[in-house]
Structures are given as structure tokens and as C-alpha cells.
């Protein structure tokens, strides 16, 4: 199944309503067919992720996309789709209205519950969180690590050979599934897996080099506590 990368990344509210474009999808989706649900998931996951990030970073009062916040976003996205794929939500969708607002209403409820559990509030007005979908950001526009690490990662990404750069683009920037990445690149999934594993190893090596740098400092040169490179 080839998925439109733009839809997968988020962006427009409902660029091509999935059930209007593929009416045959509605019946298996309502019946809980996994393949149908997978299609819906890959079509909307980018948008739901964007909304979840908007809620989490607003709540934190900081745009920083730390690993902990990323895990929180992953939990929220999972909860949204878990609810959306629940029998009540599936059967509650009539297929006549666009699906995106229906899904975003589920997302809003999940986010409201999440915020309440933290003793916080998030805007609940229709369209407030969805407004984040109209924001266009370049990859890496949000801080996601310490500056020295960001420097290493960006340098690493820029230095990638074509094959690894293509894998990085499809899997980590577009956020495609392994299957869709393989289709998009005209590769077998085994090749994608192999290249992805290679990409991980090289990234780890690049980080290790960063961590080894202080070891080059002689004992006499050891920085005082609180010193930062």
C-alpha cells in the first residue's frame, strides 16, 4: 500500500477525505478490519502527531522535543488511535462526514483527559489544536537535544551517502512505514532494513565520537565542575 507522504506527515486538515476517496474502505473499517484500520492510521498519523506535539509543547511552555516528551506524544497518539479503532468510535462514524474532524474530536478528548490528569487545562475550542496543522516547520526546526548533540546529528545527516540519506528521508523525516519506504525507493524491505540498521550503527558511532572527545583532555586540563563544551 503506497501512502501519500504528505498525508502521512500531517499538514492539511483533510486534503483528500479518505472514505470519500475510497468508499469501499468504510465497510471493512467499521467492521474492524485491520488492513482498513492500518490504511486510516497511515493516512492520519502525521496530523494526529502534530496535534499531540502542539498540546505537549504548549503544556510544557517550551518547544523542546525531548526524548521524554516524544515518549509522551507516542503514548497520546497511540491512545487516540486505540480509541478511534474501538468499536464505538468505528460504528459511530457514518462515512458521510469527513473523517478528519471526527478523528480530531477523539484526539481532543484524549488530550483533555491527559491534561486533566496532570491538573492542567488545554484549549478545547474546536480547531484550536488543529491550527497547528497549518504550521509548516522544517525538519529539526524544534530543539530536540543539547546543542552539541544537535550539531553532531545535523553534521551526520548532511554527510550521509545517497542510499542512507534516502532511507533517513523516508523513514525519519517523512515517517513512512518500512513497507511504504521500500515501495517509494524501489527497494526490497530487506534492503531497507539492512540500510536502516547501518544508519543506526553510524549514528551511534557519531555519538560515541562526541562522548569520547572529553577523554582527549589531559588530567591537568580537566574542566572545573559546571564547565560545558
Amino acid at each position: 500500500m503506497a501512502i501519500d507522504a504528505r498525508a502521512s506527515k500531517g499538514g492539511p486538515l483533510d486534503p483528500m477525505p479518505i472514505f470519500q476517496d475510497s468508499p469501499a474502505l468504510l465497510r471493512p473499517f467499521r467492521a474492524g478490519d485491520r488492513t482498513a484500520c492500518e490504511r486510516v492510521y497511515w493516512f492520519y498519523v502525521g496530523s494526529v502527531e502534530t496535534i499531540a506535539w502542539a498540546a505537549v509543547t504548549r503544556d510544557a511552555g517550551s518547544p523542546h522535543r525531548s526524548q521524554a516528551r516524544r515518549a509522551e506524544v507516542a503514548d497520546l497518539v497511540q491512545e487516540v488511535f486505540f480509541k478511534a479503532f474501538g468499536e464505538r468510535a468505528r460504528l459511530g462514524y457514518d462515512g458521510l462526514r469527513p473523517y478528519a474532524p471526527y478523528l480530531y474530536a477523539i484526539a481532543r478528548n484524549v488530550l483533555v483527559d491527559w491534561a486533566r490528569a496532570r491538573g492542567r487545562e488545554i484549549p478545547t475550542e474546536d480547531g484550536d489544536l488543529e491550527a497547528a496543522l497549518h504550521d509548516v516547520h522544517e525538519p529539526g526546526a524544534h530543539p530536540y537535544a543539547t546543542p552539541d548533540r544537535v550539531k553532531v546529528v545535523e553534521r551526520f545527516i548532511r554527510s550521509l551517502p545517497d542510499d542512507l540519506r534516502a532511507i533517513h528521508e523516508k523513514r525519519y523525516v517523512a515517517g513512512l512505514s518500512q513497507r511504504d519506504a521500500a515501495d517509494a525507493l524501489g527497494l526490497s524491505r530487506q534492503t531497507v532494513r539492512t540500510l536502516e540498521a547501518h544508519l543506526h550503527r553510524k549514528m551511534e558511532e557519531a555519538l560515541r565520537e562526541l562522548e569520547l572527545e572529553p577523554a582527549l583532555v589531559t588530567p591537568e586540563q580537566q574542566p572545573a565542575p559546571g564547565w560545558r563544551r
Binding site: 474492524g32 478490519d33 485491520r34 488492513t35 484500520c37 492500518e38 492510521y41 497511515w42 498519523v45 502527531e49 506535539w53 522535543r65 525531548s66 526524548q67 516528551r69 516524544r70 515518549a71 506524544v73 507516542a74 497518539v77 497511540q78 488511535f81 486505540f82 478511534a84 479503532f85 474501538g86 468499536e87 525538519p139 529539526g140 524544534h142 530543539p143 530536540y144 537535544a145 548533540r149 546529528v153 545527516i157 533517513h168 523516508k170 523513514r171 525519519y172 523525516v173 517523512a174 515517517g175 513512512l176 512505514s177 518500512q178 513497507r179 519506504a181 526490497s188 524491505r189 530487506q190 534492503t191 532494513r193 536502516e196 544508519l199 543506526h200 549514528m203 551511534e204 555519538l207 562522548e211
Partner: protein, 199 residues
């Protein structure tokens, strides 16, 4: 110090979820879906009677009744759709000692099934079906065509998530050809998420 997969992925995706994490989320989100278990998928007396051999991924010769109770999933191709199921449970939580059953749905050409699993956490590939150990033949026919071989989840399956790769090929696919990726004569292929849990 070795970096965790999560940390590497976090950096590679520059703080976004990225494809690998989205795949894991999907797998968990789908866990709540109904998984109808047709009568022939339920734990049956044949499991006890077939003399299951507790060894490494031992192929079971089971007389799976033909029927259309499977819910087709996985990659669709003109030649067939492929399916795998954990008998008596779900792929998302398949207890050690369970049996995996394989099938082609509506195959339009004769072929042979091949399958293996890879631990998501890394590790040795676990071979299920291949020309080396027995690749079940599939005849072109409408509806579900279950393989005559099932696979017992033996001790080589540590609890955890796996990716199961299933192929339908024109000729029985050897391990060597599968190591090279997708066999050249592949008619259909699909991957499935499998999570092995303790009994």
C-alpha cells in the same frame, strides 16, 4: 556506552516520532481490534494429538480444514493475499507454545509458502517455512488456502516482538534465496507483527 534504539531514533527523527515508532504505535493501537477466532482456529484436540515436538521451530503437519474463516490482511498483490495467525490467541499476544498457521487467500497461481521471523530487538532470524525444511504448496483456488504446516513457537522464541515475513513464491524458496531479500519469483509477500508472551 551503547545507545538505546529509542535514543538513536529520537535523534534521527529530530524529535519527531518517525516511521519506526509510528509502526510500533500502530501495532499497539490495533491490539484492541476484534480478532474473531473461527472454530478451526481455536485450540483443538489435534494440537495435543499431533505430538508436538518441542524443538526449534518444528514444522507441524496439521490437517487444517479448508474454509473462509480467515480475515485476510497483509500485503495485497494480484497473485494472493497472505495471512498468518496465532491459533487460539492473537498475534499481538501469542503465548509461547502456541502454533502459528499460515495461509494464502484467493491465490491465482500455484506457489509455495516461505516464512521466517526476526526479533525486533535484533538477533537471529528464526526460520519457519523454506525449501530446506518444507515449503507448503498452495493451489490456485478461491477463498482461504491454509498451509498444511503450522509452526510451534518453541524455546527459540524469547518473549518479545517479532516481525514475521511470509512469501508466496513460484518455486520453493530456499533459506539462501530468502537471505538475499525478496526471492525473484515472489508472487506475494506480507509482514506481520508478532508478540510472543510467556505462557
Amino acid at each position: 556506552m551503547k545507545k538505546s534504539t529509542e535514543e538513536i531514533e529520537h535523534l534521527l527523527s529530530r524529535g519527531a516520532l518517525g516511521g519506526p515508532e509510528r509502526e510500533r504505535i500502530l501495532s499497539r493501537a490495533l491490539a484492541g481490534l476484534p480478532a474473531p477466532i473461527p472454530w478451526w482456529r481455536r485450540p483443538a484436540s489435534w494440537m495435543a494429538a499431533s505430538g508436538l515436538v518441542a524443538a526449534t521451530a518444528v514444522a507441524l503437519v496439521v490437517a487444517l480444514p479448508r474454509g473462509d474463516g480467515w480475515t485476510a490482511k497483509g500485503g495485497g498483490t494480484p497473485a494472493a493475499r497472505l495471512d498468518v495467525t496465532c491459533l487460539g490467541a492473537h498475534l499481538e499476544a501469542c503465548p509461547a507454545g502456541s502454533t502459528l498457521a499460515f495461509a494464502a487467500v484467493d491465490p491465482s497461481a500455484p506457489g509455495y509458502l516461505a516464512a521466517y521471523a526476526e526479533p525486533r530487538a535484533g538477533g537471529e532470524r528464526i526460520w519457519y517455512l523454506s525449501a530446506d525444511t518444507g515449503a507448503p504448496a498452495v493451489a490456485p483456488a478461491a477463498g482461504l488456502q491454509p498451509a498444511e504446516h503450522g509452526i510451534l513457537l518453541g524455546p527459540e522464541h524469547l518473549p518479545g516482538p517479532y516481525v514475521v515475513h511470509l512469501f508466496l513464491t513460484r518455486q520453493p524458496a530456499s533459506k539462501a534465496s530468502l537471505r538475499g531479500g525478496r526471492p525473484a519469483d515472489t508472487l506475494a509477500e506480507a509482514t506481520f507483527s508478532l508478540v510472543v508472551v510467556g505462557r
